[in-house]
Amino acid sequence: MTEIHGKIYVVAMVLAIIFAGLAIFLFYIERKLDRMEKKINEMEEERESEKVRK
């Protein structure tokens, strides 16, 4: 296999690691989004309860 491809497996590994890195980064962004969504929901509830009090 290596005869035909001439160390192409190195490139394949590099690409795989880049992709995995990007995917992990996506997970990280999603975690941040989760947190933001939670915060916004809390803020909305606060607003609602303020309105009710008034």
Binding site: M1, I4, H5, I8, Y9, V11, A12, M13, L15, A16, F19, A20, A23, L26, F27, I29, E30, L33, M36, E37, I40, M43, E44, R47
Partner: protein, 230 residues
């Protein structure tokens, strides 16, 4: 929470699938072909861009229909997010296609119904962005944008499906009216990577879309909270 587990499961599955596609796509044997040589491996990546784009834009078409039925702004936001995501994949598809074409056909662009169809598609969705930008009222913006999107999508679909059939032999593979997919003459060796590649890219594009949509949703809510405060 089963919902949360599922949420992680399909994403991990997508990643595993894509890793298989990257490794298999570069390492597995491919048939020896004249002119194209090793670049045939591009089929796992370049064609994946087109499938993702068409998938995402089709979902967006359904969202636009849903908006016109319900006038729920949620669907308008979702439709908008599909366009943003679809355009990313569309541009990547065009750029990768141009690089591939330059190195095999010797030119960046050929006058071919499939390439022209792709270019028209991208122009339509850029026009959609401009249309949205020139309207302020969210309800009206959603309505006009949805109408244009549905109108344009159907007309584009007709062009992309019919034009290649009647315009004779094309240099681009997959002439039988099915854009980009040439399963008939795809080597069985390549199918074991090709089909997972398509599925992997589609799932991946859907993942990106969900991130874009959530970002837009948060943005919208922040704007709303700010507006309420005033």
């Amino acid at each position: 929470m089963p919902n949360k587990t599922w949420n992680y499961t399909w994403k991990i599955f997508t990643i595993v699938l894509m890793l298989y596609v990257i490794l298999g796509g570069l390492l597995f044997e491919v048939p020896a072909l004249p002119v194209i040589h090793q670049t045939i491996r591009n089929i796992y990546f370049h064609v994946g861009m087109w499938f993702s784009m068409i998938f995402i834009l089709f979902v967006g078409f359904l969202f636009s229909l849903a908006y016109l039925r319900t006038f729920d702004l949620k669907y308008d936001r979702m439709a908008f997010a599909t366009v943003k995501t679809g355009l990313i994949f569309g541009f990547l598809g065009i750029i990768t296609g141009m690089i591939w074409a330059q190195n095999t056909w010797g030119t960046y662009w050929v006058n071919d119904p499939k390439l022209n169809g792709a270019a028209v598609g991208i122009l339509v969705y850029l026009a959609y962005l401009i249309l949205r930008a020139s309207l302020d009222d969210p309800e009206k913006r959603g309505r006009l944008a949805a109408v244009y999107k549905i109108f344009a999508f159907v007309i584009m679909f007709v062009f992309i499906m019919i034009l290649p059939r009647i315009s004779g032999p094309s240099i681009h593979p997959g002439v039988d009216g099915n854009p980009a997919l040439a399963t008939g003459d795809l080597d069985p060796m390549m199918r074991r990577v090709f089909f997972p590649a398509i599925l992997g890219w589609i799932l991946f594009s859907w993942w990106i879309y969900t991130v874009v949509e959530r970002k837009d949703k948060i943005n919208q809510k922040i704007n709303q909270l700010n507006a309420d405060q005033l």
